[in-house]
């Protein structure tokens, strides 16, 4: 018998604090698998966000830092500028990256900062209890849009992948999803490509991953995956938005 699936070395065997069915766990695992397969664990420095991923440094078995809300790309910039041959990634949610950290992410991309950003878009603030995010869909009910998001009051959800793809400094920008096994595999491929982009010093790379928040969406984990396909993908189309050769 050969082992088909087991815990990657780049993750500790500590239990995740995430809610049942939350796809953070899947994404953590595939990032770690990529790091293992590319033999980068000892060269990796990860930067965690503020949000549900805040404790990711307790799970990744490599050097890790915890950032202030939204500032991970600036911290990653500081690290990468000093250690140009290491692999530096940030792990950020939609509130962290697309709201409070908008300036940091746009400029990291514009500079062509040679870092990799894993962007978890689940259209809601998870950690603080389900408030409206910059990616919250029109009509979506959250604790701060209790009657559904209304564009006349709060505008429209931001498409980060498309936005960053317009920056010359962006070398690889992709949006994927983890709502079924085929897309988990595609996401893993995209993460690998993003890492490759960085290791080849091509510039800024980001994989935006459509993710779930069953708890704050008020759904069971399977319904949540179905919502990704039904409601999120039509507004946040999947695919590669920038591939610099």
């Amino acid at each position: 018998m050969k082992v088909v699936a087991k815990r990657p070395e780049s993750l500790y065997y500590k239990k995740f604090h995430y809610c049942p069915g939350c796809t953070h766990g899947i994404i953590h695992r595939i990032i770690a698998e990529c790091i293992d397969e590319m033999e980068l664990r000892e060269k990796t420095i990860g930067v965690c966000p503020v949000g549900c991923g805040v404790l990711a440094y307790e799970y990744f078995n490599c050097d890790m830092l915890e950032a202030a809300h939204g500032r991970a790309p600036a911290i990653a910039t500081g690290i990468k500028r000093m250690l140009q041959d290491n692999f530096v990634f940030t792990y950020q949610g939609d509130g962290d990256l697309a709201s409070i950290g908008m300036a940091e992410i746009v400029h990291a991309s514009a500079r062509g900062e040679n870092i990799t950003v894993i962007f978890i878009n689940n259209t809601i603030y998870g950690m603080t209890g389900g408030q409206m995010a910059p990616t919250t869909l029109i009509g979506q009910v959250t604790t701060t849009s209790p009657y559904g998001r209304r564009p006349e009051l709060t505008g429209y959800p931001i498409r980060m992948a498309e936005l960053l793809a317009t920056n010359e400094g962006s070398a690889y920008i992709c949006r994927t999803s983890v709502h079924n096994p085929a897309h988990v595999l595609k996401t893993k491929k995209a993460i690998k490509k993003a890492i490759q982009t960085q290791m080849e010093k091509k510039g800024f790379s980001m994989v935006e991953i459509l993710s779930t928040c069953p708890t704050n969406w008020g759904m069971n984990p399977i319904e949540a995956l179905e919502r990704v396909e039904r409601e999120m993908i039509p507004y946040f189309p999947l695919g590669e938005f920038k591939v610099k050769e």
Partner: protein, 71 residues
């Protein structure tokens, strides 16, 4: 004879049922007789003979519960 073998580290399982939903052979289910320390009926193999060792369950598991082997 089963071509694959799955091993569940049940103490980590949060019963999200993603593995059950995506198992192409319907070999998995919740263990209604047991409750783990997290308070869930953990996922388990209900029909080991059906397992082909495809690894889909582990691929969709958010909590590193499952190890898979294949012939």
């Amino acid at each position: 004879m089963a071509k694959g073998r799955v091993r569940f580290y049940s103490d980590r399982c949060k019963a999200c049922e993603l593995c059950i939903k995506f198992c192409p052979k319907g070999a998995l289910g919740l263990d209604k007789k047991n409750i783990n320390a997290l308070g869930y009926h953990p996922a388990t193999v209900v029909d080991p003979e059906r397992c082909t060792g495809c690894g889909t369950c582990a691929l969709m598991c958010p909590d590193l519960v499952i190890e898979v082997e294949r012939e």
